[in-house]
């Protein structure tokens, strides 16, 4: 998303008041799987202040063209949630729910790094998003 040529009409349409910040902090995934991603989350975490997250829709939530993003460990769940809302052009009034492990909704002020350390696997953290409560 930070590279102009990667922008699709879809992405250009996003009204992102914080677009500059978003561009700085979310980076396009590497073109090829880096060998590092086979390291355990813990080992990798020590050397990296960023982690990979994979965003998957659930229920009737629209799919995101680009699913894998690299995010700063210190970013909060609410930040990811705001990012997805803008990306899928949610109405401001619509809510968005994020789930870890397809089981629980982390508190909005939880940092991504902690969740990654506990629930990341294969070098990435899978987060499901949906517009209605999906799991519990």
């Amino acid at each position: 998303m930070s590279e102009g040529e990667e922008k699709t009409p879809d992405e250009q349409g996003i009204a992102l008041p914080t677009q500059a910040t978003a561009n700085e902090l979310i980076e396009p995934e590497p073109k090829s799987e880096s060998p590092q991603s086979i390291a355990s989350p813990d080992t990798k975490a020590k050397f990296n202040s960023k982690v990979d997250i994979l965003l998957k829709p659930a229920g009737d939530a629209p799919i995101m063209k680009k699913k894998k993003w690299t995010v700063d460990r210190t970013k909060k769940i609410c930040w990811v949630s705001d990012f997805i809302k803008k990306y899928i052009k949610n109405e401001p009034s619509e809510s968005l729910f994020l789930y870890v492990n397809q089981s629980y909704a982390p508190s909005p002020d939880t940092d991504i790094g902690s969740i990654f350390d506990c629930f990341g696997s294969d070098g990435k953290l899978v987060l499901h998003y949906c517009r209605t409560q999906a799991w519990g």
Binding site: S103, A105, S107, C118
Partner: protein
């Protein structure tokens, strides 16, 4: 786990005396509001116990420009989604009692606090943490095998201060014998002015040796830089400083909050203490 049941009861009954005062700059009436005193359960959450405080204080502020009520201790806004005992251990550990808190209806600190629209928000937060804890302990199997009414019993047990109702269900989540042995220990470590630390930590090492609170803190030392022998900090949970040789699994079963997490605070020792 049943052996040390009296500890569970003791923790359940732990209470903190609190003196609530309205922020001086928000008093709109000529009459000054009296402070409001409450004895609140350590294991509860502020939105579950402060209805009376709200009704008492709200009469003294300008009605047109009030926000959601929020609480402050010495400049520190208090997160409603942390158990009260955790907030006290973290911020109020060395204070005199009653714990003096300031009540606000204005300038809601959006950056620091989550909004709490109603008690259902507390319930859904609470259930989410329980699910997360069980995902760590039993890969979610214990909580998923329960019926909706069991989930409800956990919440109403806590909300209505019914120890037996809560524990009749919670004991299934704390089951740790045989195949149910905890995969990892749900814990969070708190320090003032930094984000909580949470990582995967198994109750035993690769050789099957029991790991203790000391092992847990040493495992985290990369992040928190404690002094040798850990003497630089008080290690507090549930208002007590457990011996560092306490097995982590025992702590998880007995000293966890109702949300099934161990909430452990690291409070620096002051100079005149050592």
């Amino acid at each position: 786990m049943a052996d040390d049941r009296e500890i569970l009861r003791e923790l359940w009954e732990g209470k903190i005396p609190i003196c609530f005062q309205l922020a001086q700059e928000e008093i709109y009436t000529v009459d000054q509001p009296d402070p409001f005193f409450l004895l609140v359960p350590r294991l509860s959450y502020f939105p579950l116990v402060t209805d009376k405080v709200l009704r008492h204080m709200v009469k003294f502020v300008e009605q047109e420009s009030t926000d959601e009520m929020w609480l402050e201790y010495e400049g520190q806004p208090l997160k409603w989604h942390y158990p009260i005992g955790l907030l006290f251990d973290l911020y109020g550990h060395q204070t005199e009692l009653p714990w003096k808190l300031i009540v606000h209806f204005k300038k809601f600190p959006e950056d620091e606090l989550l909004h709490c629209p109603n008690k259902e928000a507390v319930e859904s937060h609470f259930m989410s943490i329980i699910k997360e804890a069980d995902a760590l302990k039993h890969r979610g199997q214990a909580i998923n095998n329960m019926q909706k009414k069991d989930h409800k019993a956990l919440w109403t047990g806590l909300m209505n201060d019914k120890f037996d109702q809560f524990w009749s269900v919670n004991k299934k989540l704390m089951e740790s014998s045989g195949e149910d042995a905890f995969k990892s220990i749900p814990f969070r470590i708190y320090q003032v002015d930094s984000i909580p630390i949470q990582k995967l930590f198994k109750p035993t090492d690769d050789n099957g040796e029991t790991l203790t609170l000391r092992h847990l803190l040493e495992f985290l030392n990369v992040d928190i830089a404690l002094s040798p022998e850990l003497s630089s900090h008080h290690v507090i949970t549930q208002g007590i400083e457990p011996p560092l040789e306490t097995p982590a699994a025992w702590m998880s079963e007995h000293l966890s909050y109702p949300d099934n997490f161990l909430h452990i605070c690291l409070v620096p020792r002051t100079e005149n203490e050592s």
